[in-house]
Structures are given as C-alpha cells and as structure tokens.
C-alpha cells in the first residue's frame, strides 16, 4: 500500500472561497493509503513546497496528490518539488479543484463535495502510478521560420545571431511581407522600406540564415527537437545563381497585363517580375500563367536578352527535405475580403479603397508614383472619408469579433500625411472608438485632430453611394450630435479588418498546433507562454497569433527567438516517459496497433516467450519509446489489452472512473 500525502491549496481565496479545504483534508485522511493531508494558502509558493518536502521526509510519502489549480499550471512545479525531495516526479497527481471546481461552482457544499471526489480520483490513480524514467532525444540544432515578413526576419536574425542556423520559408518571390508594402509607419512616420530593407539585407547576407523564397512547407513530421520538413521550392524559371538582377527581362517582357499583387492589383506587371525594387533575393520569377513562351511555346524574349543566361523554362518544382529542432510560425495576415460589405460600394467604385491600397497609392513605387489620385479619373481628391472598423469588432457573421488593433493608428497616420501633403484636402474619419494604447500613440492621434484638423466623427457609415458625377455620397450618423450625416466624398478609405493568412490552417494542421475560432494560432498560455504553441517545439511570431503593430511584432519575434535559442542550446531533451508498453505475454502480434500509430513507433519481433511454463516463439509488438508520443491510440486498438500506456494505464483510468462513480 502506498503512503500518500494530500495537499490542498487555498490559492488565496480562489479555491478556499468556494471549497471547504479543511473538509477536503478531513475526507482525504479517510482514503486508503493517505497518511498525511494538509491545506495551505499557496502550495506552489516556496513555503508551500517546503511543507510538501517536509511531509515527504517525515511521513516517508511515496505518492503525492496536490489539490490545486490546473495541472497545466503547476504540475511541473510539484513534480520538480517531488524530484528534489527524492520522489519520482511521476508519483505526483494533481486534482484540479480550481479551474474545474471552485471557479465554476457557487454553492460551497456542492463545490466541496466535487473537490473531494476529484481528490479521491487522484488518490485512486496515484495508488497505481509507477515511477517513470524520462528518456532523452537529440536536438537538431537548426530552426525553421515559416514566413519572411518582419516577424520572420526578426526571429531568424535573432536566432542566427545566437549562432544557430535558421531557414526562412517564404511563399512569395521575395521576403519582406506586409511591412514592405507600407509607405510610412506610425507613430514616427519614418519610411517603412527605409527601416525594413536593411533587415532584409542582413537576413539575406547572414551566414546562419538560408532563404527559401517562392517556397512552401509541404509536410512536417517528427516532434520537438526532431522535426523533418519537406519544403516545396516552386519553379522560378530563373536560375538564382546566374541571375544578376539587371531587370532587362522585365522591361523587354511583352506580357505586361498581369495584375501586380504587390500593389494590391491596382496596376499591372510583366510576366517575368520581381515584386518590388528592393526585393530580396533580387531575382525575378516567371508567372507561368502569363508567360507567352510557357503558354504558346513562342516568344522567349527574356531568354534572348538575358546576358547571364539565367532563364530556364524547363525548371521544375523541387522538394527539399530538412531537419529542424524548432519551428517558428510567422505567417502574418491579410485584409478580409469585402464582398460581404456591399454598402461600402468597394466593388462598384474604384475610389473606394482599403487602407492597404492607400499605402500603395501614397508610396513612390506605387501605381500612382506616390501622387494621391483617384484611380477612376486620376483627379486629386478634395474630400476623403475614412471608415473605421470595417469588419472589425463585428457582431454579425460578416466580419470579425475582434479589434484589428492597428487601424486607429494607421488611419490617423494616413489622415495626417494627407493633410500634411495636401492641405486643401479635407479628411473625415468615421469611428466607433479611437483606441490609442501604446507609447506616443494618443499624442499622435491628438496631433492629427488638433494640429492637422482631421475631422473625427463618432459613428458608423451606413452606405456609400457612387454618384453620376463620379463622387461618392457617404451616409452616416454622428452619435455625439445624434444626427444623420450626408457627405459628398471623392475618395473613401476602408480600415479593413485583418485576418490570419489563409494558409495558416494548412500549416497548423501539419504542425498539429491548435488554432482558435478566428484562425489565430493558440498560445500555450495566454499570459505566461504567449509565444509558444501548445505543441512542443512550435513557436509563434507576429500577427499569426493575434493582431499586432510593428513594434509588438518585433518584440514578440525576439521573444520567440529566445525560446528557440533556449531549446537549440540543449544537446538533448528529456522525452515524455508516458509512452505505450506492450505486455509480451498478452500480445498477439496482430499488427493492429502499428496500423494506428501516427509515429511508426511500433515494430514487431519474434521472440521466445515463456508463458507460465509454455515456451514458444511468438511475434510480439515492441514500442520505440523515443518515437512514441503517448497518444494511446494503440491501447484501444489492442483487443487483448496487451498494449498499455504508462502514466495513463487502463487500471489507472479505471481507478479514476471507479472513484468518481462510487
């Protein structure tokens, strides 16, 4: 019989307010094998842990049950505490009487009763816990960063600086991401390209960084420290080693009708193109769907003009398989499609644009060479209306429930820049709330209003109606004045909500990293582990985890890098000892378990077995505990019950069931 100690935590009043902890202690002492039970305000505290240590020593405990917060919070803490005091960490069980009890129940009697039952179940389980020894697995000292935006670049640079090799996989022809599309940045108004390009160059030139542009992650297998990833290098039809980036091909290319993605489709580009001047690598790609040579076999002009002879129409996609110890997701965002927002006439009028499109228009490399023009007639707009929260903070199904966070600030920025460059252009902003938390943010916004006379109206716009004369009639309300507003505008700018890049689902599934209802990647803990995914070895950087502005993104990118460095700095990782184990006396060798093992951890061998005096050669299953991740699929598939999961054995789970149901 085990000697079990039960430790009931008050968690201040978090637990004690709704659970009669004394009662739980009293009931614990009635459980078989419980030789010690006590309660304490904060078990996780130094003092709390030392009480546990003392009890282990004085009562020779060989099993611990801590009734406290979720094991996801402090299981590790108490296991360490046990280990420090000579007890195998796997002889500790947590009864979650906070998240699963005190926090959700009002009635003290009810909550106490439930807490007692949860304690009972944990005690019943501990009786059957076996001391487990964690194994070790090697760590591949290379990191993969998925996404070559500012988040990915910053993460990669920080990791590379620490001396570890990093690969960046970017699906576009160039790294740079959204930030490279921005003109100026708030609240400093310095030019986006000016601060981003150097970083792009650093990344490209860094000895520890390998860029895979125009490439996508195809397949991911393995686990923390030992990922194997297939990367699809899409055919560029241009030899990266030969190309000098002279750009002649792009000038000569006769097919210039393709929409320019980089400029949000506001103008066109040639079939062979580099997305933008500062592109890295400065090597064009051929858009096979537009290239005349590819489609008709005739043309080949770029090939003729290419001095370097870098053009290669026969290039094929290539699959590169690389091993990594850690993976950082930095897949960024996009603006939501506006089809569902007919009232803003986005699809009807060329002069209704998104803020990101405005960035391109304001940018010297943009479709209008940086001149603020109406795309319909090239006239300079005299009256511009900005509409906030288009699809953000949206209660109905059309938009997103969350705040996109950056819109208030970039709108203020746009307004200010326009008023600054074109003083005779009037700017009106319709908003729900102006949210400016952040260093120098509110000051920035106030400058827009006070110094630049931007007209902020609290209220939503109901309709934007294109007029015969080409102007736009904006119908809105002023909630403060409480009156209808009809405004004639030459241009309407929609602060369109942002959403995670559409590819993120596919990637999350490959990484078995969980995703929330808005397709943002879930962090391991909202407060304490914000840059880690619940899946070990997978980290989050940038907007893929939630809306962020550039400084926040860069900060998180650095944080993610630190986590990666911490992981790669280790030579080996202790593996989860809760792995499957096959009882060779019961095993039929039927192979059903191997069929459901997602890690190929089960193999078979023929072995001489002595089954209670019957000696015979038998085919039996063997589990490779380094590969086994402990899901337990095999245990249920096994009809004879030969396959069992350490730490979650059949008997342990049944004991919990019994304890709860009795």
């Amino acid at each position: 019989m085990r000697r079990i100690g039960v430790f009931v935590c008050h968690c201040g009043s978090n637990i004690a307010a709704t659970v009669d902890v004394k009662k739980v202690v009293e009931l614990a002492l009635r459980e078989p094998g419980v030789v010690h039970a006590e309660d304490y305000p904060y078990m996780c505290s130094e003092a709390g842990q030392s009480r546990i240590a003392q009890a282990i020593r004085e009562k020779q405990l060989d099993g611990l049950v801590v009734c406290s917060c979720s094991p996801r919070m402090h299981e590790a803490t108490f296991r360490k505490c046990a280990e420090k005091n000579g007890l195998n960490p796997y002889l500790v069980e947590i009864a979650n009487i906070r998240e699963h009890c005190s926090w959700i129940h009002k009635n003290m009697e009810e909550a106490t009763q439930k807490a007692a039952i949860l304690m009972r179940a944990a005690v019943a389980k501990v009786h059957l816990n076996a001391p487990l020894q964690a194994g070790t697995s090697k760590v591949t000292k290379r990191a993969l960063v998925i996404g070559g935006g500012i988040a990915g670049i910053q993460t990669a640079l920080d990791i590379a600086e620490a001396g570890f090799p990093v690969d960046i996989v970017e699906k576009e022809p160039s790294i740079g991401g959204r930030m490279s599309q921005l003109d100026k940045t708030f609240p400093t108004l310095d030019c986006s390209a000016c601060i981003l390009t150097p970083k792009m160059v650093d990344a490209a030139s860094h000895e520890n960084i390998t860029l895979f542009t125009y490439s996508e992650v195809e397949k991911v297998s393995g686990f923390v420290g030992n990922f194997t990833v297939d990367i699809r290098k899409k055919a560029r039809y241009v030899d990266m080693d030969k190309c000098t980036g002279c750009g002649v091909c792009q000038e000569k290319c006769p097919s210039k009708k393709s929409l320019n993605e980089f400029n949000r489709g506001l103008n066109t580009r040639s079939a062979i193109y580099t997305p933008f001047a500062q592109a890295i690598p400065n090597v064009p790609v051929i858009d096979a769907t537009a290239c005349i040579k590819m489609k008709t076999g005739k043309c080949g002009i770029c090939e003729k003009f290419c001095q370097a002879g870098a053009i290669d129409y026969t290039q094929k996609d290539a699959i590169i398989t690389r091993e990594y110890g850690a993976i950082v997701v930095a897949t960024g965002f996009d603006t939501i499609p506006l089809d569902k927002y007919g009232e803003y006439a986005y699809n009807e009028s060329k002069d209704v644009i998104t803020s990101l499109e405005l960035e391109r228009i304001m940018n010297a490399a943009g479709p209008t060479k940086g001149h603020l023009e109406r795309l319909s007639d090239g006239k300079a707009p005299k009256e511009i209306v900005f509409i906030q929260c288009v699809g953000s903070r949206c209660s109905d199904r059309r938009g997103k429930p969350y705040c996109s966070k950056i819109c208030c600030m970039y709108t203020a920025k746009h307004a200010m820049l326009i008023r600054d460059k074109y003083p005779d252009t009037k700017v009106t902003v319709f908003y729900i709330d102006v949210r400016t938390p952040g260093k120098n943010f509110d000051e920035f916004y106030r400058r827009a209003v006070e110094d630049y006379g931007v007209n902020y109206i609290k209220g939503q716009v109901g309709k934007v109606a294109p007029q015969p004369d080409g102007s736009l009639l904006v119908q809105g309300v002023d909630l403060l004045e409480n009156k209808q507003i009809l405004k004639k505008a030459d241009m309407v700018v929609l602060a369109t909500a942002i959403e995670p890049n559409k590819d993120v689902r596919k990637i999350a599934t490959m990484l078995t990293a969980s995703i929330d209802t808005n397709n943002f990647l879930t962090e391991a803990h909202p407060k304490l582990r914000p840059v880690e995914s619940p899946t070990a070895g997978v980290f989050l950087s940038g907007v893929c985890q939630g809306p962020k502005d550039i400084p926040e993104t860069v900060a998180q990118a650095g944080a993610a890098a630190v986590k990666v460095i911490g992981l790669l700095a280790k030579d080996s990782l202790t593996t989860n000892p809760c792995t499957a184990k096959s009882d060779e006396l019961r095993c039929n060798g039927c192979s059903q378990c191997a069929n459901v093992c997602p890690y190929g951890a089960i193999s078979y061998e023929t072995k001489l077995i002595n089954d209670h005096g019957v000696r015979e050669e038998r085919r039996i299953a063997v589990v490779n505990s380094a590969l086994c991740q402990g899901c337990g699929a095999c245990t249920v598939t096994c009809p004879s019950g030969a396959m069992d999961l350490q730490g979650f054995s059949n008997r342990q789970i049944i004991a919990e069931v019994d304890a709860i149901c009795r």
Binding site: N107, Q113, S514, I515, T517, V596, G632, I653
Partner: protein
C-alpha cells in the same frame, strides 16, 4: 420515468489533454459555470478512451458519459480523434441498438479556445441526462435471479 428534481446525475467527462481539458480550464478561468455533477478525467487524447472505460463508468453508477477531444484535424497527435470518432460512432450505435437511451453518451470536439463551448456542452448534456433519470438499463440488460 418521472425524474426527481433533486436527483443529481453522475457524469464522467473524458477530456483530451491538449484541447478539451484546456477548454475546461478556460471555462474555469472565464468563470463559465456548469453543474458540479460533471467530473473530468484527463486522458492524453480522445483515442485513449477505451469503450471498456465507458461501460465501466456506467457499471459503477454513472448516468452519462461524455468524451471531448480536439476538433477533427486539430488532434495534437494528428490522427487520434479520427480513430476515437469511429470507435465511439460504433459503440454508441451499439448501445442504442441494445435499447440504452442514446442521450447518455456524447462526443463533443472542444478546442483549447472554446471555454464557452465547453460549459455550454456540459450544461446541455447534464440537462439531457437529468431528463433521462438514473441509468438502469445497462445494468439490467442481463438480469439474473
């Protein structure tokens, strides 16, 4: 059968460690209440839940058993919940076939971010089971003199 209002069902909820257990935690930290009749057992993955555990629970007096796991496609072990889904589909169908009230068993996919869904699920499940009253059929299926 007429159900006594004060009667409290015993409900076992198997939750996978990665999604649903975390979802339950989120329900907790968001103070989204559900009846105390629900007791959660943590399993690494929904695919760890053996039909024998479920029958065992009923054998020992459970009135309802619910299994929660990651949404299909989001399994931490990539495929576990797909197997769990098939197993439970067949098991539940069999229990129904034997004439056991189908409301006593359920599978829900609850992600780590779905605290609300977790509490709503538990509320509706408990209500359903409460309506069915104590589980006697499974025990009586093979009556002995």
């Amino acid at each position: 059968m007429p159900v006594n209002e004060n009667w409290k069902p015993t409900i076992v909820a198997f939750c996978c460690n990665w999604c649903s257990y975390a979802g339950a935690d989120l329900a907790g930290s968001s103070r989204l209440s559900y009846p105390a009749d629900v007791k959660i057992i943590k399993v690494p993955c929904s695919c760890r839940v053996n039909p024998m555990f479920i029958l065992r629970a009923f054998e020992k007096g459970a009135d309802g058993v619910i299994l929660c796991g990651c949404h299909p496609g989001d399994c931490h072990y990539s495929t576990g919940n797909y197997y769990a889904r098939r197993r439970m589909t067949l098991l539940f169908s069999m229990l129904d076939y034997l004439g056991v009230e189908s409301g006593r068993t359920r599978v829900e996919w609850v992600s780590a971010a779905e605290g609300v869904k977790f509490s709503e699920t538990m509320n509706s499940f408990v209500e359903k089971v409460h309506g069915l009253g104590p589980c006697v059929r499974l025990g009586d299926l093979r009556c002995k003199k």
